[in-house]
Every structure is written in structure tokens, then in C-alpha cells.
């Protein structure tokens, strides 16, 4: 891939391999868990697999285009993007524009493609917070105001997300913001205060919306009410138990056949557990761990190269991937309350797949730029990039 002013685009082979592995496993599992559903919903087994393939293609194309944009442009565009994100969050709430599924208005329909707005907002949030901390490094490090100011904007986004309602995504962007600020050098004492404040806020949110309370209690003991609030989780846990060491074999799962709801989206990990067993589960967890590790390495390199914005971007994206993957897998295994978060690169869904591809494209861009800088400083080159 060529960019207008750089002679070459440097790929991070490790990151490419990790992403390809996740995409491939994810796609195969989406196919396996959606065949019966496609037949049921639209009379064709190919309906979901083809759509997901389209999502991946669009994701790769958009990502390829994004990778051509230099990082400094992102830095300046940050605030505008965040405002655009807020705008999208407002639009989706306007009756008639947003698409309602399962009681939540989270989607915008674009020419047959359904995009979950919060997925785009997550990227914009990373770009914005990384830019903010880069620009206001001093104030973030010394004053409480420096932290509260961007968080106020995030709080606004959270309120809009909660109106959809999308509790999971609001938690994700708060975690991203906090993580980026923490790694950007915010004072620890302020963090403690902030964390306790957020804990109180979260407690209040749970208190005022009973369905969240229900989700929380159901995850702690799904067997207490296995037919209602605990239904999905019980089915997910059964999938894990049935999988044992090596799984029942690809395509042989029973749980996906109208027992486990959302098997091809949020609960894809359970299908992996049933069909590929502990082996498959450990491989997937390992791949996500490697992904986070590699992203942090890129961030570290960017930091060394003096690219503060790029480094914070990478941290933000790494935290996003890591946190979302952890929450999704944790929900599947019943150690976290049900959030409605997808498994990055794996779950079925247009918005999620495309925004994840975009995020990875940004990381490729960061790597390429950092590599270029390192290459121009011969001493540095051998220090971090050998591949």
C-alpha cells in the first residue's frame, strides 16, 4: 500500500498474523453458528456468512483507506470527530432514524447495512482522549480540572449511550478515557477520587434501572432462575461444560440450535467453547492476550520515538480491545454481568467488524510511522524492530 508522501508502508507482521488468526477463527465460528438461523430467518444458510464476509470486506477497505491518513491529522481532527460522534448518538435517538432491536435503539441503517453507532463513537473517543492528553499533558498531570474537563464530555456521551440504552459501550469509553489518562500521567490521588465517584455513579445507574440489577443478580447465580433472567447464561455455561477438552467438533454443537440466544453475536465465544473445547478457548484468549501485548509494544515504541499522540492512541486502542474482549469472554463464562459487548474481530455484526478493522488500521499506521522514524535513526532500528 502506497501513501502519497511516504515511499513505503511498513506492516507489522506479528499484528497482521494475530488479526488474521482471530478473523479466521471468528468467521468460521460465525458460519457454524448461523447456518440454522439463516435458514430460519431468510431461507438460506448462506445469508449470515455472506453478510459477515461483506462486513469484513468493507472493514478492510475502509481500514486501508484510513491507514493512508497521517497520524497528525487525526490529532487535529480529534475534537471535531468527538463532536461528530455525539451528533451521531443524538441522531440515532431520533425516532424514525434509529433502528430498534431487542428494545435498544443502537443502530443506523445505511443502504442495507446496519451500523451500531457506539462502535464508531468508541474510535472517536480514543482519538479525542489521546489528542486531549497530548495537548494538555501538564494540566492532566497536575490539576483535577485537567481530568474532569474531558471526562465531562465523556459523561455526556455516556448519557446519550445510556439513553439507547447501551450500558456496555458507555463503560468501555469511560475505561478507555481513564486508561489513556492514567498512562498519560494523571495524578494517582485524583484517580482514586475519580474511581470512587464513578463507582457511586455506576451503583446509582444500576439502582435506577432495574433491568441492570436483574442482569447483575442473574450473572451471580444463573441457576436460581434458569428459565428467565439466568436463561442465556445457563445456556452459555452448558456450552462450556459440553465442550470439555477438545470440544464436540466444529459444526456439532447443539447449544447454538435455538438454545443459546445470540450465539453468532455476543455469545460466539460459548459456541467456540462447545465446538472447539478448552483448546479453542485457550487459543482465543491467548490470541487476545498477544494482541494487547503487541499493541502495547507498538505504543511503547511510539513513546520512545517521541510520538506521544500515537502512543496514547495505541494505548487507548489496546485497552479497548483488551477490555472489550475480556468483558465479552467474562460474560460468556459468567464472571461478569451481561453487557451486550461483541467479541472483537469475531462476533457477527457490521458496525463492530468495521470499526475494529478501522482501529487496527490506525495501529498499522502508527507502527509504520514509528518504523519510519526508527529507520531514519539507525541506532534505534535494531533496538525494537527486528522483523
Amino acid at each position: 500500500m502506497k501513501t502519497p508522501h511516504k515511499s513505503q508502508f511498513h506492516f507489522d507482521t506479528t499484528l497482521v498474523l494475530i488479526c488474521l488468526a482471530l478473523l479466521t477463527i471468528g468467521y468460521i465460528m460465525v458460519v457454524s453458528s448461523s447456518l440454522h438461523l439463516g435458514l430460519e430467518m431468510s431461507g438460506s444458510v448462506f445469508s449470515y456468512p455472506l453478510k459477515q464476509l461483506a462486513h469484513i470486506c468493507i472493514g478492510v477497505c475502509v481500514g486501508a483507506w484510513l491507514a493512508t491518513i497521517p497520524m497528525h491529522k487525526w490529532e487535529t481532527a480529534g475534537p471535531w470527530l468527538f463532536i461528530a460522534g455525539l451528533f451521531l448518538l443524538v441522531i440515532v435517538l431520533i425516532p424514525g432514524l434509529g433502528v430498534k432491536v431487542n428494545g435498544s435503539v443502537r443502530w443506523l441503517s445505511l443502504g442495507g447495512l446496519r451500523i451500531q453507532v457506539s462502535e464508531i463513537v468508541k474510535i472517536f473517543a480514543v482519538v479525542y482522549i489521546a489528542g486531549y492528553v497530548t495537548r494538555h499533558q501538564e494540566s492532566v498531570r497536575v490539576s483535577a480540572y485537567g481530568i474532569v474537563k474531558p471526562l465531562a464530555l465523556f459523561a455526556l456521551a455516556c448519557v446519550l449511550l445510556l439513553l439507547e440504552p447501551d450500558f456496555g459501550s458507555s463503560v468501555v469509553i469511560i475505561v478507555i478515557a481513564m486508561g489513556v489518562m492514567f498512562l498519560g500521567g494523571a495524578r494517582l490521588s485524583q484517580f482514586v477520587i475519580l474511581l470512587s465517584f464513578l463507582a457511586t455513579l455506576a451503583a446509582l445507574l444500576v439502582y435506577f434501572a432495574p433491568y441492570r440489577m436483574q442482569r447483575i443478580t442473574s450473572f451471580r447465580d444463573p441457576w436460581a432462575d434458569p428459565l428467565n433472567s439466568g436463561f442465556q447464561l445457563v445456556q452459555a455455561l452448558i456450552s462450556f461444560g459440553r465442550g470439555e477438552w477438545l470440544g464436540v467438533g466444529l459444526g456439532n454443537g447443539i447449544q447454538k440450535l435455538f438454545y443459546l440466544p445470540e450465539a453468532h453475536t455476543d455469545f460466539l465465544f460459548s459456541v467456540i467453547a462447545e465446538e472447539l473445547g478448552l483448546l479453542g478457548v485457550v487459543v482465543v484468549i491467548g490470541l487476545f492476550a498477544m494482541l494487547v501485548w503487541r499493541i502495547f509494544k507498538i505504543a511503547e515504541a511510539a513513546e520512545k520515538a517521541g510520538q506521544v499522540f500515537s502512543a496514547l492512541m495505541a494505548y487507548g486502542l489496546g485497552i479497548w480491545f483488551g477490555f472489550q474482549a475480556f468483558v465479552n469472554m467474562g460474560v460468556n463464562m459468567g464472571i461478569l454481568p451481561t453487557k451486550g459487548l461483541t467479541l472483537p474481530f469475531m462476533s457477527y455484526g457490521g458496525g463492530s467488524m468495521i470499526s475494529m478493522c478501522c482501529a487496527i488500521a490506525l495501529l498499522f499506521r502508527i507502527y509504520s510511522e514509528v518504523y519510519e522514524i526508527s529507520a531514519n535513526t539507525p541506532k534505534e532500528r535494531s533496538r525494537w524492530v527486528n522483523a
Partner: protein, 618 residues
């Protein structure tokens, strides 16, 4: 990863405001989270797997029953009267039917592409292919409806439905179902089952009864012998998906055990003959209904039992209780004069009349304020004459000579007012008033068959006491070698004497000359019974009854014919029922290969050699 090796180098270069410890903290924290996930996965997939798998099995695994083959019902020769045969049920998922099968569509497109040397199809051509595909499907649906005998108008309904399930045809011939299968329409499924068939249809419908859609006996012997016939349904373990559809069989838990074959005492040939003759008689005499029972005089086995009106158990359309009631076993009537031989036999056995005692009848006999009347004044009659002329006065006088208890006991022994024990559902026991409540006039009316009631089967049974030299047999609808429950009611001598008297009934001046059978001596008794209505006995409506046996020398068969309300003119038992007896008896004796005992009345057969008598060698 390569980077790890360089970590020490990186640490050396620590710029101001370096937060690498924070980075390491976050990274270690996130890696710990991943390790927690792995630990939890091990917990679920290794440690708790037994519990979770059991929970899963509880939800997925189900036991379903496998229906057993219902036993056959045959007649005494093994001819089938009820058989379960495999049938198929055709159902459709309109939703699947109406979805476009993309593979089939692609195959059509490919075919067209090949025909034009691989040139890509234009949009118009694609639309054409789709139209052809749709048209073909509509055509096939119409074909299917035609095969199934459904109206073609159903096609539009079917093609516009979006529901998931509908029956198209239930329990149909597998050949038809195979034709439907061959059309390979999407969403059309064929399922295997059993259906009960009754080869003899209405001829033995009353006896056999029928089953319901679940193959459970509802009427007749299908109901009585339900447990014997039904067998034991087996069961198998299957896996169901979340929509409760069976997706796989795991194992057979229990093989189904087929029901046993029920062998009836019925002889289908006699049954058919009896049914046909009864039907003709009921139609000719414009009667309300009719029953006929044929008994084996030596074993008490029921060889035939038919009724009119009848029904076809195969179709069961417009089925009313009136049609499927087995009148021969469940309906009761006053037997009238047909019980007179028993009065004579009882009086002779008890020594209440002398062998040649004469009775002055005068045609009228007052008892208290009541009158016993005869149709004509027969003058002075001996016992034979009383039976031959069927004199009410004669038997009434005999009855009055007997103590009520003795008289009652004879009737009771003959099975009147007692269940005949055929095992048929809602079998009638009839009624016999207790002798302590009898007045003299009751004793008199009892003697000519009023004031008690019996079923045709009970009446036929009581005649075994006369036919088998005084021994009353129990009744059986199942084939058996001998009757282990027989009992003596009359002495052999008396029974033979009364039988000889009853032969005179069939003589030219008896009441039932029409009952004669060429080549055989026949003994029998007519009964023309006034029907009891709300306002007492009617003078216009009658039961025409005939009970008899043949050959009279050694009776093998007993036949009772009862025709309810003949209204075409004749109503005498001797004119309405006796001819039915004659025809059925003649046929049945031939079927049973019973030797004739009266050669001079045998029909003459002409051969080339001249006139010979059949069975001359016997």
C-alpha cells in the same frame, strides 16, 4: 516476541515524565485478567463439566415413544378382519415451500449458461430463469394437490402462507405419499405411521368396532381387547434443538413389542352370508333394524353376528351411535313365543305334565281379571301341538302347574337376566323379574315371552340347552376348542323330545314352514312379539323373531334372527325371520360341511349319468 529481549535496553533510556511502570502495571493487570479467564474456562470445561453436561442433557435429551404394531384381528380361519398397515402422513412447511431454493435456481442458471456457450446471463435472462423456477414450483404444487386429491384452489393459499406447519394429508397410502415425495418440493415432509384397515368393512363392523386416530380401540372388540391388541410401544432417546425438533437419535431404550393376533370364533363366510341375508330381509320388509346370531351348538362359539343398519369402520363418516351399535349383543327385546320350548321342557323335566297330557285351549284363558288369548281357537292340544301352533293358553296352563321358583330357576339357568359373558363392551344382560314378585298372570306371560327381555345373543345361547341334549354352553367370541363352562339344564331325554316337537313347527302346518332347509331336519320356534310402547303393547308394531337349529338329529348350528318392526305387510316371525334363518342355515351348513340328515328333501342334481343324490356315499 523479539521485544522482550530488548527490555533491559529500553529501561536505560528513561526520559522525564516516563510512566513505563504504569504501562507495565496496566499490561500485567490485563494479562492477569486473561489468566483469570483461562482459569475460569478450566473450571467450567474440566472441573464442572459433569454437572454442566448433565444440565445440558436435561435440556437436549428427550425420550420419545415408538408406536408398536397393533395386533391383527382374524376370523377362525385366519382371514383378516382388522389389520394395521403402514401409512404415511404428508405435512408441509409453507414458509420453506415459498422460500426460493437458491441451489436449484443456480442449477437452472448454469444450465442456461451452458446452452449459450458459457455467456454470462443478462438481467432479463436471470428474471426469466426465476420466473421459470417459480412457474415450475406452482406446477409441482398443483400436481401434488392433484395426487392428494385436494382442490387445486388450495395452491394459491399454500403458496402465500408463511406459517411453519400444516398437514396436507393424514394416514394415506404409501404409494401416493411416494409420488408426492418424488416431486421433491422444499418443505414437504412425509412421516410414517400405522392405520387400521377393516377388509370386511360393514359386514363385521359391529363386532370389530374401530380405533381412534391414536390407534386406541373405541368400540367393539377393538375396545374389549385393547390391551391384548395394542402391544407395548417402545421408546428411544433423541436430541431436540431449542425449537423442540428432533435432530438426532441417540439410542433405542426399548424396542416396541407388536400386539398379539386376536383370533375370533367368527367364520367370515358365514358372517358375510348372515349379513347379506339380514340386509335383504330388513330392506324387503322395511324394518327399523335387525340382528342375526349364528352359534356353534357344541362349543358356544359365535360363528356370526350381524346387524342392520350398519356402518363402514374404514370411513366412519356420519357415524351415529344408532349405526355402530351391535344390536345382537347390546339390544334387548321381549323374546315372545321363542321361549315356549323351555316352558315345555321345564314342565316335562320337573314332571309337572305327563308325556301325552292334553290341554284344552279354547283360544281364551282367564287368569284373575286378565285374559290370555290365542290367535285362533286351537281346541285341545298336546305339548307338541302347543308348540306347533304356538298356543299362549297351552303354555300358560303348563306354567301355572309349576311352582314359580322352579320356573324362574329354569329361566335363570338358561341365562335370562344374566350377562352372557361374551366380553363385548356394554353387553346386555336382559331382565328377569324375581319370582317372589310374580303373580299368577306374570307366570303366564313369562311362559309366552312377555315380561322378560333378552338380547339375540342370549336367546341363541339358551337354545344350546335344547341343541346339545340339555347342556347349556357359555358364549365365546374367540375361537376355542371346547367349552369348559357348560352346564346341564335339562335331561338329554327331555331336550331330544322338545327338539322333536320343534321339528313340527317347520312342517307345512306349523308356524315356520319357511324355515325349512332342504336336506336337513330343522327344529325351531317363531316369535311374533308385540312391541311395548308408552301406552302398553302395540297392535301394529312387532318384533319378528325366529330361533332354530339344524340338523335336528344332531344340531350343529343355532341361528337367531330378530327383525324389528317389519312394516311392508308381513310381520310374523315365521314369514319375516324364518326365511332368513333358512337361507343362512343352508349356506352355513354347507360351509361347515355338515352331513344332511334328511335325504328325501335333498335337491336333485342332474349329471350325465343320470339322476344321483349328492352325498350318497355318506
Amino acid at each position: 516476541m523479539v521485544d522482550l529481549r530488548n527490555r533491559s535496553n529500553l529501561k536505560e533510556r528513561k526520559p522525564a515524565g516516563d510512566f513505563s511502570s504504569r504501562r507495565r502495571f496496566v499490561l500485567v493487570f490485563m494479562m492477569s485478567c486473561m489468566i483469570i479467564l483461562v482459569a475460569r474456562a478450566v473450571d467450567l470445561q474440566v472441573i464442572s463439566k459433569k454437572y454442566l453436561k448433565d444440565q445440558g442433557d436435561m435440556r437436549h435429551v428427550d425420550e420419545v415413544s415408538v408406536s408398536a404394531y397393533r395386533g391383527m384381528i382374524t376370523d377362525r380361519t385366519g382371514a383378516p378382519l382388522a389389520i394395521s398397515s403402514p401409512v404415511q402422513t404428508v405435512s408441509v412447511s409453507p414458509k420453506q415451500l415459498n422460500a426460493i431454493d437458491k441451489n436449484q435456481l443456480k442449477a437452472l442458471e448454469k444450465k442456461l449458461r451452458k446452452s449459450q456457450q458459457g455467456h454470462a446471463l443478462t438481467g432479463v435472462q436471470k428474471a426469466e430463469v426465476l420466473a421459470v423456477y417459480e412457474k415450475d414450483k406452482v406446477l409441482k404444487v398443483k400436481q401434488m394437490l392433484k395426487i392428494l386429491g385436494l382442490p387445486a384452489s388450495e395452491a394459491n393459499k399454500l403458496l402465500n402462507k408463511t406459517s411453519k406447519f400444516a398437514y396436507l394429508a393424514q394416514r394415506i397410502n404409501p404409494i401416493i405419499a411416494d409420488q408426492v415425495k418424488a416431486l421433491e418440493l422444499p418443505g414437504v415432509n412425509v412421516e410414517q405411521g400405522f392405520k387400521r384397515f377393516y377388509p370386511t368393512g360393514e359386514v363385521s363392523g359391529h363386532l370389530i368396532g374401530f380405533t381412534d386416530v391414536n390407534d386406541v380401540g373405541q368400540e367393539g372388540l377393538e375396545r374389549s381387547y385393547e390391551n391384548f391388541l395394542k402391544g407395548l410401544s417402545g421408546s428411544k432417546r433423541v436430541i431436540r434443538d431449542g425449537q423442540r425438533q428432533v435432530i438426532a437419535d441417540i439410542e433405542n431404550i426399548k424396542e416396541p413389542v407388536a400386539g398379539k393376533t386376536l383370533e375370533l370364533s367368527i367364520d367370515q363366510r358365514i358372517q358375510y352370508l348372515a349379513y347379506r341375508e339380514l340386509q335383504t330381509a330388513v330392506e324387503t320388509h322395511k324394518a327399523k333394524s335387525g340382528s342375526i346370531v349364528v352359534l356353534d351348538a357344541k362349543s358356544g362359539e359365535v360363528l356370526a353376528a350381524a346387524n342392520q343398519p350398519s356402518f363402514n369402520p374404514n370411513t366412519k363418516t356420519n357415524l351415529k351411535e344408532n349405526l355402530y351399535r351391535n344390536r345382537a349383543i347390546t339390544n334387548i327385546f321381549e323374546p315372545g313365543s321363542t321361549v315356549k320350548p323351555f316352558v315345555v321342557a321345564a314342565a316335562m323335566d320337573g314332571g309337572y305334565i305327563r308325556p301325552n297330557e292334553l290341554f284344552e285351549t279354547h283360544g281364551i284363558f282367564p287368569i284373575g281379571t286378565h285374559m290370555v288369548r290365542d290367535v285362533h281357537n286351537y281346541g285341545t292340544l298336546d305339548a307338541t301341538g302347543v308348540l306347533k301352533k304356538s298356543s299362549n293358553v297351552g303354555v300358560a296352563k303348563m306354567a301355572l302347574k309349576m311352582p314359580p321358583e322352579y320356573f324362574w330357576d329354569t329361566y335363570h339357568k338358561l341365562g335370562f337376566g344374566v350377562s352372557p359373558g361374551s366380553g363385548f363392551p356394554s353387553e346386555a344382560s336382559g331382565s328377569l323379574l324375581d319370582h317372589r314378585r310374580w303373580r299368577d298372570f306374570d307366570r303366564a306371560t313369562m311362559s309366552f315371552g312377555y315380561g322378560l327381555s333378552v338380547s339375540a345373543l342370549q336367546l341363541a345361547r339358551s337354545y344350546t340347552a335344547l341343541a346339545d341334549d340339555g347342556i347349556l354352553h357359555s358364549i365365546s367370541l374367540l375361537k376355542r376348542d371346547e367349552d369348559i363352562d357348560s352346564k346341564r339344564v335339562f335331561t338329554a331325554k327331555t331336550a331330544k323330545k322338545v327338539r322333536a316337537m320343534l321339528e313340527t313347527v317347520i312342517s307345512k302346518d306349523g308356524t315356520a314352514y319357511e324355515a325349512r332347509v332342504d336336506g336337513y331336519r330343522v327344529a325351531g320356534k317363531t316369535g311374533t312379539v308385540k312391541k311395548a310402547g308408552s301406552g302398553g303393547y302395540s297392535e301394529k308394531t312387532y318384533f319378528a323373531v325366529f330361533a332354530g337349529m339344524a340338523p335336528a338329529s344332531h344340531p350343529r348350528l343355532i341361528i337367531v334372527v330378530m327383525i324389528d318392526e317389519p312394516s311392508a305387510g308381513d310381520y310374523y316371525g315365521g314369514l319375516v325371520s324364518a326365511p332368513v334363518f333358512s337361507k343362512v342355515m343352508a349356506g352355513a351348513l354347507r360351509i361347515m360341511e355338515v352331513a344332511p340328515d334328511e335325504e328325501h328333501t335333498m335337491p336333485i342334481l342332474l349329471t350325465k349319468k343320470g339322476v344321483i343324490r349328492p352325498h350318497a356315499a355318506e
